[in-house]
């Protein structure tokens, strides 16, 4: 299995080499997923996170098979 990773909007453009899936071994929290998917880039201050389509914070846990997403503050409406 793996953890799927998605990046949206300006974040996706800023991280052209970020991968869309990571091995789950050793990953405990969302911040760990960021580190592995971006090959160690620092997470910018205002990045929002989600796991399996629900808002989460970077210190929340992740599990094998999860879908994790990172995105800038939302600007709909």
């Amino acid at each position: 299995m793996a953890i799927k990773v998605k990046f949206f909007a300006s974040l996706r453009e800023q991280l052209p080499r970020a991968v869309d899936a990571v091995e789950p071994d050793g990953l405990e929290i969302i911040a760990d997923v960021w580190a592995r998917a971006t090959d160690g880039q620092r997470m910018p201050e205002h990045v929002l996170c989600s796991v399996n389509l629900e808002h989460r914070s970077a210190n929340d846990p992740v599990a094998d098979g999860d879908e994790v997403a990172f995105f800038p503050p939302v600007t709909g409406g």
Binding site: L53, A69, P73, G77
Partner: protein, 144 residues
């Protein structure tokens, strides 16, 4: 469906009429609605077009949660949220929020809540093409 994502231009008043036609006849005492429209200026610059990105799956889920919260907080007959994604031009509607209730307070308050909640929680991101041809991501919402 109380939550609708539209990939092409929509007519907010036609959406409201079609939706309201299905509500129990005689039950509705009040309706409040809000339409947000794309402007041709933002942050001091002319804007010629916009692309609205979303997170298929999470966007709908978050809007559903916002609708559920509105139903719990106010005594409502029904609500409707319609939101564009994709390419949008100045003057085109981006979003419609509408609430139907027996009495006016619930309709007014729920309509506003739907709009403010989706602006802070629903995964949408706007990318503007400026008058000079350059593009930029909108980084924050206007205060209202």
């Amino acid at each position: 469906m109380s939550v609708v994502i539209r990939h092409a231009a929509f007519d907010p008043h036609a959406e409201e009429r079609a939706f309201a036609a299905k509500l129990p006849v005689g039950s509705v005492g009040a309706q409040a609605s809000f339409v947000g429209t794309m402007r041709d200026h933002n942050e001091g610059d002319g804007v010629q077009a916009m692309t609205l990105e979303h997170y298929p799956g999470m966007t709908e889920r978050e809007l559903d949660a916002i609708v559920a919260e509105a139903r719990e907080r106010w005594d409502l007959i029904d609500v409707l949220v319609v939101h564009r994604v994709g390419d949008i031009l100045p003057g085109e509607p981006i979003v419609l929020t509408a609430a139907w209730s027996r009495h006016r307070a619930a309709a007014f308050d729920a309509c506003r809540f739907l709009m403010e909640a989706l602006k802070s929680r629903a995964p949408f991101w706007k990318k503007e093409t400026l008058a000079d041809g350059s593009s930029r991501w909108v980084e924050k919402n206007t205060p209202g």
